[in-house]
Symmetry: C2
Subunit: 138 residues, 2 copies
């Protein structure tokens, strides 16, 4: 399955790539290169640089979505055409997914106004989660 994904893009099938796709496939949340690497080394021999290179290649091919978060790290997720945005607690990093993406209409609008070809968007909400709010009272 992941094997097919690679074949369809003229990428060679390697243990590292399969492991990375497997890990991202299981995750319901976007992950950093380091997150992915930490899990992947348990399964196969690979280096952090390979992780970065693989993630970059897969994102270029459109297999992954790559997003810079407000925390300064880059997050990767499978591009399954039903992308999600998130609300992140600035204190404890608790993350809540947001189901609807309200931006589709706006994109149409922008295309007409600006003549840009729009290739993506990033949206992230910051806040403080209920637990941290309570902790502040202590």
């Amino acid at each position: 399955m992941n094997d097919d994904i690679l074949k369809n893009t003229a990428l060679k099938t390697t243990k590292s790539r399969l492991a990375i796709l497997r890990i991202l496939g299981k995750s319901s949340e976007p992950m950093t290169a380091d997150d992915i690497y930490s899990l992947a080394v348990k399964e196969v021999n690979l280096s952090l640089s390979t992780t970065y290179r693989t993630l970059g290649t897969l994102a270029e091919k459109g297999i992954l979505l790559k997003n810079m978060s407000q925390d300064g790290k880059t997050y990767y997720q499978i591009n399954n055409r039903q992308h999600k945005h998130h609300l992140v607690c600035t204190l404890c990093n608790e993350t809540v997914p947001i189901e609807d993406c309200p931006l589709t209409n706006l994109e149409e609008n922008l295309i007409q106004k600006t003549g840009f070809v729009i290739t993506g968007h990033s949206l992230e909400f910051s806040g403080i989660c209920p637990r941290c709010t309570n902790n502040m009272r202590d």
Copy 2:
């Protein structure tokens, strides 16, 4: 004026801080620490680390908005309560401001659903500008 801003927040009035506020006040677009530093050194003696420290302090006090862009750099702008989002060309970095922020309604919704205190959001569109699209044809 900028002097008042500082006094109101128990921050000392220094040449560096005034210069940074002056520069950001004149700019209609968000700027990076390095952008700001490059302009500020022409007016006053200051270091890049002071620039970072000042920007961080002012953002903490709510005087500036601080945003990590998809290009991996942090952008600062005056928080004048009428914030803007942007559409950025991934090839030439041309930037088009977006007038309306469509997220206010969604935020209300999120507060109720998640119990978070929402402190901000970041939104950025990526695309390719008409000029770069044309260049690709050459």
